[in-house]
């Protein structure tokens, strides 16, 4: 079986010789739910955006990014068939990235664009089966009653769940979530994370989620990858993540307040304590 995600020698340098990503190798097996943690600017978003081919890696080199066994980009060249590959990758953004003025249903139906012919998508003639599918996806994330409302009228948490529904309509086998709860209140954040965890456990969707809060990562994910200055400095089970590792990840930049619940072992979930 192909790995869900395979990264080889991924390097990204922005202007001014600033190396933002330098990952020798990273593999995610289908069905895993992996958290990416790290301080702001550690390369979490950039990594996820490379996986969807939204950003190109450095030209030359031997970098290669595969998702669902298909090459998204290599040597800094985005694959020609990247659109078909993206169809299998649901991307959930921090700012939801829904189209505000369109109804929730249309936003969710956008997940079907890649498999429909232009004569249907341009005038918006979605076939009945896709509409049913969109309604089912909205039901799955618990906001079916909002289908006809404009996306802009939804709360942040509802918008994020609509974005997840869009990924479901895509039929994505992999969901990449870039700080999906960073703009949400605690209760909405919990529901969004729970939705992602349910999709992972019940549907076997691979989830790669970047998170700012370490405690959330520990609660929902069985594997944690920590980035610092674009490098993987930790990759392992929550139980291996101790305060010494965290100090290295955050380089003492982060005050202990955010780390506190983590370092107190009693607060960790059972599987993380062991």
């Amino acid at each position: 079986m192909h790995p869900a995600i395979a990264i080889e020698a991924l390097e990204k340098t922005f202007r001014a010789e600033q190396r933002v990503l330098d990952i020798a190798s990273l593999t995610v097996t289908p069905g895993e739910m992996v958290a990416i943690i790290g301080a702001s600017g550690s390369g979490k978003s950039t990594l996820l955006r490379h996986l969807s081919g939204l950003v190109r890696a450095d030209r030359g080199g031997t970098n290669r990014v595969l998702v669902n066994g298909r090459c998204v980009q290599q040597r800094g060249q985005i694959a020609r068939d990247v659109r078909q590959i993206r169809a299998g990758i649901g991307f959930v953004f921090q700012q939801f990235n829904l189209v505000d003025r369109l109804p929730v249903l249309t936003n969710v139906l956008a997940g079907a664009l890649s498999r429909l012919p232009l004569w249907r998508t341009l005038p918006g003639w979605f076939p009945e089966c896709e509409r049913v599918r969109a309604h089912q996806a909205l039901k799955r994330v618990g906001i079916e009653e909002l289908a006809q409302q404009r996306a802009s009228t939804l709360s942040g948490g509802q918008q994020q769940r609509a974005a997840i529904a869009r990924a479901l309509v895509q039929g994505a086998q992999v969901i990449l979530a870039d700080e999906p709860i960073a703009s949400l209140d605690p209760e909405s954040a919990r529901r969004v994370m729970q939705t992602l965890a349910d999709l992972n456990r019940q549907d076997g969707i691979t989830v790669l989620v970047s998170l700012h809060q370490v405690d959330v990562a520990l609660r929902f994910c069985r594997r944690i990858v920590a980035l610092r200055h674009g490098r993987v400095v930790f990759d392992g089970a929550p139980s291996e993540l101790n305060s010494r590792v965290l100090a290295e990840v955050y380089g003492g930049e982060l005050p202990s307040r955010e780390l506190l619940p983590v370092t107190t072992d009693a607060l960790l979930p059972a599987y993380a304590r062991a």
Partner: protein, 264 residues
């Protein structure tokens, strides 16, 4: 970019005293220089005030005896504006997208923008005169003139609206594997729709006004009637036509205001 001081966070600074004085002097110099060329003679306004008063009196009471012909002329003018604007909107959608720097590469935006500049910089009256020569006297020449000129204007306005959109919803659509044109239809157009509708309606209003002028060169409509009557010194009838134009334009303004609301 020239962002306003408030947005850029820079403290607002007044120009130093001398620079300010010099710029005011420069403005004054431009006006003084233009005085002679424009033959500004304010005294003549006073000297001929008697004539103006007589002329003004000749306008009243307005003579509506031929109102049927004026109203049908006005309707024709509106019809010219409808087609001139409609064709322009249809053309300005793709052309505006091709002019937008965040949609098309520079080697497409630059030539398209220059062509739109040409369409825009030549007045519709000039186009009307040319089209009258090309397709003969009548409303069709007027439609063509409005079409070309308005396409130039709307393409620029549409492109500016597109360049100001939020890129993140477009990226959201792109991440689903959508094609480039679907990113535009689902990500870009919903965002610019209120502005595009507003611009189009505004241009329709101004095209109704322009269409009454291009009648002067034989492109049909109320302008043609107006021109004939002014040349015959029938000022009471002129007054009636002017009233009809004012009422029609205000009516159209009011209606388009309502339509605009539906797009927001």
């Amino acid at each position: 970019m020239l962002a306003p001081a408030i947005l850029s966070g820079r403290p607002f600074s007044y120009m130093p005293g001398l620079a300010r004085l010099l710029s005011w002097l420069a403005v004054a110099a431009v006006f003084a220089w233009s005085w002679h060329g424009a033959e500004i003679r304010p005294l003549e306004l006073a000297k001929y005030s008697g004539n103006i008063a007589i002329l003004a009196r000749d306008f009243f009471p307005p003579d509506f005896s031929e109102w049927r012909s004026y109203v049908s002329g006005m309707l024709l003018t509106v019809q010219i504006a409808v087609w001139g604007t409609g064709l322009a909107v249809v053309c300005a959608v793709p052309l505006g997208l091709l002019c937008a720097g965040n949609i098309a590469p520079w080697w497409i935006t630059q030539p398209t923008r220059r062509i739109m500049d040409i369409c825009r910089s030549i007045n519709e009256l000039v186009f009307a005169m040319l089209f009258v020569v090309a397709v003969g006297l009548g409303p069709f020449a007027g439609v063509l003139a409005l079409w070309v000129h308005t396409t130039g204007i709307l393409a620029k306005l549409f492109a500016e609206a597109v360049e100001a959109i939020d890129a993140s919803p477009v990226e959201g659509i792109r991440a689903t594997g959508a094609r480039h044109i679907e990113e535009i239809v689902y990500g870009v157009i919903p965002q610019v729709m209120p502005l595009w509708a507003s611009f189009s309606l505004y241009r329709f209003e101004s095209n109704v006004r322009s269409a009454s002028v291009i009648g002067l060169v034989g492109a049909g409509g109320i302008g043609q009637i107006l021109w004939e009557i002014i040349r015959a010194f029938e000022f009471q009838q002129t007054c009636a036509i002017m009233i009809i134009i004012v009422v029609s334009v205000s009516l159209i303004d009011a209606i388009s205001q309502q339509i605009r609301r539906a797009f927001i």
